[in-house]
């Protein structure tokens, strides 16, 4: 599992997220969470429990209304929009349930979008994307359009894209939510391999079977975490 004393990638302290409105909704309440380098963590919970909200906070796509969030030792709570965008580009990789591949680009071009806003050159991004497509077993499909791929293949392209910038943390929101069992299995296998190679992964799912593939699981119910 995790080596004792490994540095923390994510540190949440008393994080809350309240959505304004009438009445206001407390979607996250007093969340404390530490993810250390090299961990493969699953957060599991029923629909509406606040999983996506938590992932958005972790991904710097949303800001908590209470508490502190340190990403790779950097306090993000006080960071401005540009700094947060820079941290997303450099530190975070995203994998979405709906893949979010651009239909008019080839597999290689889609994967090469990783690192675009980090300022990597097109050549460098393409080079890394080629290597990562090879790594996820899709080198032979690099000229194909996403529409011609299976769901599992699409998600593997998205994973390659998420890894191009060399992130400290891979965030995945229901990565198998749109996949059949076989495709889901191939994606989870890839996660296990990446984990074995040292990638830090935080995966959200409502499926306990999927969560069981992670090295550690945390439950979320009504916006509260429990081990």
């Amino acid at each position: 599992m995790t080596a004792a004393g490994a540095p923390a990638v994510v540190e949440l302290e008393g994080v809350g997220r309240t959505f304004g409105g009438n009445p206001p909704v407390d979607v996250l309440r007093d969340v404390d969470l530490t993810v250390t380098e090299g961990e493969f963590l699953a957060i599991v919970g029923p629909s509406g429990s606040g999983k996506s909200t938590l992932l958005n906070v972790l991904g710097l796509l949303d800001s908590p209304t209470a508490g502190h969030y340190r990403l790779a030792g950097i306090d993000t709570t006080t960071a401005g929009e540009r700094r947060r965008a820079g941290l997303r580009a450099a530190r975070l990789g995203f994998v979405f349930q709906a893949f979010q591949l651009l239909p008019h680009l080839t597999v290689l071009e889609n994967a090469s979008l990783g690192g675009l806003y980090l300022g990597l050159s097109g050549r460098e991004r393409a080079l890394r994307a080629e290597r990562l497509l090879d790594r996820v077993g899709l080198a032979h499909r690099r000229r194909a359009r996403p529409a011609t791929l299976s769901g599992g293949e699409r998600q593997r392209v998205a994973i390659a894209r998420a890894l191009v910038a060399g992130p400290s943390l891979l965030l995945a929101d229901e990565p198998t939510g749109n996949l059949d069992t076989a495709s889901a299995a191939s994606v989870l296998e890839l996660f296990e391999e990446l984990h074995a190679e040292g990638t830090t992964i935080l995966m959200i799912t409502h499926d306990p079977g999927v969560a069981a593939r992670a090295s550690r699981g945390v439950r979320i119910v009504d916006g509260r975490l429990s081990a």
Binding site: N56, A85, F94, L102
Partner: protein
């Protein structure tokens, strides 16, 4: 290696990819703007070409003439020009020649024999004009035979010039035997025939006599109008100065008019021919701009997922606004280039078909830039929308 933010050309590259990814939509987006610009470019360059032709056909000689006469209400009450009007206007810089002309009140028919032949058809009543010798120069009269001279004028001799048309009506064909013409019982010796004039075409239809003769025989009391030939381009200036030069104490008594100059004529022709088309072009252009804005907005809405993805990849609001603004500007510029080419092509074809020499106004080459500006304006709101989307919202499962 990594800069921590997007490279300078990233937005342009991404925008090009975005634009070229949907070629059909690109065409639809820019068609309105392109048509509007094409209409404008064609209209402006055709108006230039057409008025170039008009200016060519336009009688340049007529442009260098000014006429002066008593102001209308006074003319109706029989006012005439001062006796020294011709002399005074000649003193103006830019006046080349000048002469006075008066239509005389004559009801008597004109004939070539002294007695009335009751068998013959009724004699025509011809206009009788009194003209100073200078007038014949001022209208560049072409005369066969002689013109009347200072001696004729001084003695108030009963001499006349016949307009060519008047001579034909009277059956006078040659001047060899000093033909005479009778106006009523006044006998006039014809000394010459006015074959052509550059102004005051009525001279060709008339019997023209010296003013002193007119005073003696027809009760002439003063000239009705002054015809001035001026140096090229001086017409408007002379027309302005003439009333003051002739009647310094009462310049309002006179009315001086210059024919429309080349440029005012050009403007008028251009205005008549094309103001409607220009309006049409502008309306189409505005509609085209609104069309771009609409489709760009639609595009932003369709690409919410892409926008969310780019934000997740580290794009700032500014990165996305810039990308969409560049996309819109690109569409605008392309529409501008297409529209300008169409417009030029159309005007070339029309000029060719009409056998006109095409006039290409180089300033119209700036039209594609107008397209660019339209693209930027039209893209401003959609780009702002793209930048203001919350990434968490944008990524919520579609």
């Amino acid at each position: 290696m990594s800069r921590g933010r997007a490279r300078p050309w990233t937005h342009v590259v991404e925008a090009m990819a975005g634009v070229s990814a949907r070629p059909g939509r690109l065409v639809l987006t820019m068609v309105g703007e392109a048509l509007g610009l094409a209409a404008l470019v064609a209209t402006v360059s055709l108006a230039g070409t057409a008025s170039g032709q008009v200016a060519d056909h336009f009688d340049r000689a007529a442009a260098d003439r000014v006429t002066v006469q008593p102001e209308e209400s006074r003319a109706e009450r029989g006012a005439v020009l001062p006796a020294d009007a011709e002399e005074r206007i000649r003193s103006l810089e830019g006046v080349e020649t000048a002469g006075t002309l008066t239509r005389l009140e004559v009801d008597d028919p004109a004939r070539t024999v002294p007695v009335v032949d009751p068998q013959a058809p009724p004699d025509p009543t011809l206009p009788v004009l009194a003209a100073s010798p200078g007038l014949l120069d001022a209208v560049d009269a072409e005369i066969s035979g002689r013109r009347y001279d200072a001696g004729h004028v001084a003695r108030a001799d009963p001499v006349a010039l016949l307009g060519a048309a008047a001579a034909r009506r009277l059956g006078i064909t040659d001047l060899a035997h000093g033909p005479a013409v009778f106006v009523g019982d006044r006998a006039l010796t014809v000394v010459g025939i006015i074959d052509a004039v550059d102004a005051r075409g009525e001279l060709v239809d008339s019997i023209v006599v010296p003013e002193s003769t007119a005073a003696r025989l027809f009760g002439w009391q003063g000239a009705q109008s002054l015809q001035v030939e001026v140096a090229p381009g001086a017409a408007e200036t002379i027309a302005r100065q003439a009333p003051l030069a002739i009647t310094p104490t009462d310049p309002g008594a006179l009315l001086a008019s210059a024919p429309p100059t080349d440029t005012t004529l050009r403007e008028r022709v251009q205005g008549d021919v094309s103001s409607l088309l220009v309006l049409l072009g502008i309306v189409t252009l505005v509609a085209g701009g609104v069309g771009i804005a609409n489709i760009m907005l639609l595009s932003v809405m369709e690409r919410v997922g892409e926008i969310g993805l780019r934000r997740a990849l580290g794009a700032t609001r500014g990165d996305l606004m810039t990308q969409f603004l560049v996309e819109s500007a690109t569409v605008g510029l392309l529409g501008g280039v297409v529209g300008t080419s169409l417009g030029f092509g159309t005007s070339m074809l029309v000029a060719l078909a009409r056998d006109w020499a095409p006039v290409l106004d180089a300033r119209l080459l700036a039209a594609p830039l107008a397209g660019l500006v339209i693209g930027v304006l039209a893209g401003a709101f959609p780009a702002w929308r793209a930048g203001s989307l919350e990434p968490a919202e944008a990524l919520r499962t579609l």
